[in-house]
Every structure is written in C-alpha cells, then in structure tokens.
Symmetry: C2
Subunit: 190 residues, 2 copies
DNA sequence: TTTACTTCTTAACTTAAGTCAATGAGAATG
DNA sequence: CATTCTCATTGACTTAAGTTAAGAAGTAAA
C-alpha cells in the first residue's frame, strides 16, 4: 500500500522541519482498518495510539445499554486513548465508521525513539499542547451552546461529518434524540 | 512569603524524582493574586501560564453581554491559556475568585530551561498527556449527562466548589439558570 | 435600626427536548 | 414485483429548563 502523506497532515497543525519529516516518515508504521472495526473496548487496555491518515472513527460509551458518542475523529486527528496514557481499563469504545488508514505507535517504540531523538519528543510536546487548545475550545464551544447552535456549528465547521455520518449518530453526538434533530432541521428549514 | 509545596501538588499527578524536585523548586516563580483579579481579558495575548498552589480561578466567555463560565481551576491545576500556546488574542477571560497563589512561567524561560534540562521537557510532555486525559474525561462526562446529573457529580466529586462558589456561578457553569438549579436542589431534597 | 443590596427561592407561563407510536421513503432481499 | 428493513419524519403528550416577576433571607451600608 502506498503511504498517505503523513507530513502534509501534520503540517496543518505545526511546522515540520525536513529533518523531522524524514525521521517521521522513516519510523511511521501504517495500517488499514476495515469499516465497523472496534479497536478498543470497555475494560481493555489500549496498546496503541493513532493518527488518522484517511477515514473516520468514533469514541462512545455504553450507558444503560445505549451508545453515547462523544467524539468523531477524521483525517489529521490524533487518538490517544486514556488507557494508553494511564494504563487503566478503558471506560469507552473506539470503532471505525468507514475503512480507515492510520499511523500508529506503541509505548515501547515511542520511548525508544524519544531517547535517540529528543527533538521528536519536543515536537510531540508542542503538538500535544496544540491539541489541548483544540480540545479545550471544543469543550467551551459545547457547553456554551444549545443543541440547535451545536448542529448549526457542525454544519458550518464539519460539513463532511454531516455527509459521512448517519443522522441518528449525529443526533447521538449532539446529545439529543433523532426526533429532536428532525425537528431542529424542520425549524431551520424555514 | 513562604513557598507552598509545589512538589507535593505535582506529585498527585506524576512521580517526581528528587533531581526534578530540586530543579522545579529552584526555578519556580511564585506570586499571589488578590481576589477578583482578572489575569486575562478577551483580545489580550497571554504571556504567562500558571499552576495553582492555593486558591481558585474561573475561565469565562462574554456572550451577548453575559458571562459564560466554562471552567473552575483549583489547587494542583494547570492553566495554559490558548493564547499562551498559539499567541493569538484570547477569546475568554480568566479571573481569580479568591486570593490565589500561583507558580507561573513564560515562554522564554520555559524554552531556556528545556534547552538546558531536556528531562524537564519530557516531564512536561507526560504531565500534558495526563491533563489531556483529565480534560477528555471531563468533556465526555459533561456531554453524556444532564444538568441534574452534572450537579450531583459536582456535589460528589468537587464538594469544595459547592462551598467556595456562589450558587449562581455554579448554575452558570452547569449551563442552567439559577432558578433551575434551585428547582433541581428542591427535587433532590426529597 | 432602617435601608439597600445581594443571593436564593417560588410561582406562573413559555419553549424545547424526551417519549411513544405511527407513517413515509428508500434500499436491500426474496 | 412484493416484502422486509432501516432510517427519517410527524403527531400527541410529558418533562425539564427558560423567562419574567415577586418575595424571602441574610448581609452590608447609611
């Protein structure tokens, strides 16, 4: 399989020097996951973290027998499961929605490469800070808007998700029932 | 002023070696901020990040003339304003609620110390990852619960906040009106 | 101590989401 | 072509939060 352009996707977030680009390209491991593949289940410990090169995934909890989606991930996004970081059993599931191509890493090779290439750890720290800002903005945006505004926001900023993902999953993610999303769409259609 | 125990607070999150402890204690700058002090305003660029040693702060947006609180910070929590990381004008305000003692850093001295002590950058990366997990958990917990559950959760996990912070600020943070919080408390009293 | 102010509570009414049930539209299957 | 299944929509009714206004309780100020 041809390697998708990991450097181009990373460069959207942070400036990558040629030296780093070579290093990353050399060390990156890539694999493809079929659609509807669950890569992490509740109770499991994650052994890998991911960077999405192509495709779409979701994170969801099983609450009272129902899925609760809290995040969609698409191209250029990093998935570092909590259980990868803290080595505790996961509280949530992660599954692909479409066929998804990812770059992945594990703790051993991560630490190994940081030891030999401290500049990469520095890059990772900075990238982590950038994603932290994004995550915080997302949180703030969420808690300060109602479902209708959140839907409008999604339509505006992530029109791809509206296309790719069935409406009942969108509603689930927005924190409402499919019936309510229907009504919101009807209200907005005017 | 006597230095509060920064090492003890950091150790709640991550193991700190004696070597790192000495380094952190030596380099940490500490100051006290009076109550109701706004340390960052919308439109400003943050020049400092903070680690709370004692006290309480809040982050809030000014939306349609009304405050919208999205986060309270207390002892042991890190405040890295988005505008500190990306050097863009801040979209939100940060203020103290009580008198607050903080350890603070600026980009120059941060980069300087990372250059001479790469182990500290490694520690910072790990700490950042730990806070990322906490932030993600908070987000998930938020979006998957209703106001009543969020209030119960706060009472259970952050009883200190219920004591320290006026009810209208708690309601604001919970995403509801003070009247609704009153009703929730009444419902629960039964 | 009287007054003003702040915070919380209560009540009546409105609005939007939840729930349950029925229907419609399209795609997949026999 | 008819049948089945999935997903989205609609309607009727319930529940909880928003809104507006009024009052209660406590604290600070005059």
């Amino acid at each position: 399989m041809e390697k998708p352009d990991i450097i181009a996707l990373l460069s959207k977030h942070i400036r990558i020097s040629d030296e780093m680009a070579t290093l990353i390209t050399e060390y990156s491991q890539i694999k493809s996951l079929p659609r509807e593949t669950t890569i992490l289940r509740e109770g499991q410990r994650a052994t890998e973290c991911f960077f999405i090169l192509q495709g779409c995934m979701k994170k969801y909890y099983l609450q009272d027998g129902e899925d609760k989606i809290t995040k969609f991930y698409t191209e250029g996004e990093v998935i570092t499961p909590a259980s990868y970081t803290n080595q505790e059993p996961s509280k949530y599931y992660i599954s692909t929605i479409e066929e998804t191509i990812v770059s992945f890493g594990d703790p051993n090779s991560e630490n190994e490469i940081y030891k030999t290439h401290p500049k990469l750890e520095s890059l990772t720290r900075k990238l982590g800070e950038i994603f932290m800002v994004k995550t915080n903005n997302e949180f703030d945006n969420w808690v300060s808007h109602n479902p209708e505004d959140r839907y409008l926001n999604l339509v505006k900023n992530r029109p791809d998700l509206i296309q790719r993902i069935p409406q009942y999953d969108i509603a689930n993610y927005l924190g409402i029932r499919p019936e309510s999303l229907s009504r919101i769409r009807k209200r907005l259609a005017k």
